[in-house]
């Protein structure tokens, strides 16, 4: 195969696969709500499990992440599953903590490089 033909094949593959995947990701992102909760009283991992359990009961929760050192949790939910701040406040209170602030956004909120690593 000539170099020019090889280049054409590669370009075709990029157009066929990478662009649609990218578009799909954009579509998925637009269907998500990103939630960040600043939680006061988070002082031990053993206790934070209750918070994870409570938040995971929210319909459609994905990518739950807790950063005890910096005192917040992040997760995302499908846009159609609305949660309001008062509901989030009750969930955090039931877990034994206090909600300082809640941010709900269509865009990702936490810079994971600065947070606790799950690995």
């Amino acid at each position: 195969m000539k170099p020019n033909n090889l280049l054409k094949v590669l370009l075709t593959l990029i157009i066929l696969f990478i662009i649609p995947v990218s578009a799909q990701n954009k579509s998925n992102n637009s269907n998500k709500q990103y939630v960040k909760l600043e939680v006061e009283g988070l002082a031990c991992p053993f206790c934070a499990y209750g918070l994870e359990k409570k938040i995971n009961k929210i319909n459609g929760v994905k990518n739950f992440h807790v950063d005890i050192k910096n005192g917040y949790v992040t997760f995302n939910i499908p846009k159609e599953n609305k949660v309001d701040k008062s509901e989030l406040k009750n969930i955090v209170a039931d877990a034994g903590f206090s909600l300082k602030s809640a941010t709900i956004s269509d865009k990702p909120l936490a810079d994971k490089k600065k947070t606790e690593n799950k690995d």
Partner: protein
Amino acid sequence: MKKIIGYVFITIIILFNVRTYAHEPIYGHGPHVLYKGGFAPGIVFNSGMGFLETEYELEYGLTSKWTIGAAVPFSNAAGSYTTENYLIKSKYRFYTDFGPGSMNEIAAFGGYRFSKETKGVNALNFGITGGKESIDWYWFASAGYTAKFTNANLNPGNEINYDLTFGYRPFEISYYKPDLVIFLEFLGKYQKKSSLNDNTINNSGGSAWAIAPTFMLTYRNYALRAGVEFGLADNGYIKKPNTNFKIGIETHL
């Protein structure tokens, strides 16, 4: 008479060696409670006066401030593995002051130990506990009173118990890694004089103190707690605790 004294002795040991709660010192008390709807089953192994006791515990978070629990101990003290006196207990956290990475708490606790013997000792224990928990260090302080009730002729003296605990987290905290907290617990008790047929026994009662280096190792919802208690000093007619160890395994569901 010897049999009654034996039962009283075993009851007292069990009563004051098993008082653990979720996420707190293994010998002393702490104000922490379970989250609402949470279950915490656990097993505690305790080496007593030459015998091994195993206690099965279950706690439940009625609300985010109120935890109830029950425990069934087994021991081989009598030469065979038998159940000992059952315990029901409760703790209500009535004060919280939340901050970034820290929590000040005060809770009231209570429990009742049912004797399985007709002439055994039932015991009502209640008190208050408070302290601070943070991502770097801990402290807890507690005081409680134990009233004892029996149909036997020998009535052991009621007790005041108190403890002070300091804790330190030597490694950086993370939810996704094992977490270690090292504790140093100071434990004390004052026992009033006992009575026999309503007559005070003069050579009874006194005070005793102990120290216990302990630790808590957790990973997510699993916890291992262990430590060794050393008797420090005694005064009057009661003896400081013999060196003993305690190991507890617990999970939150």
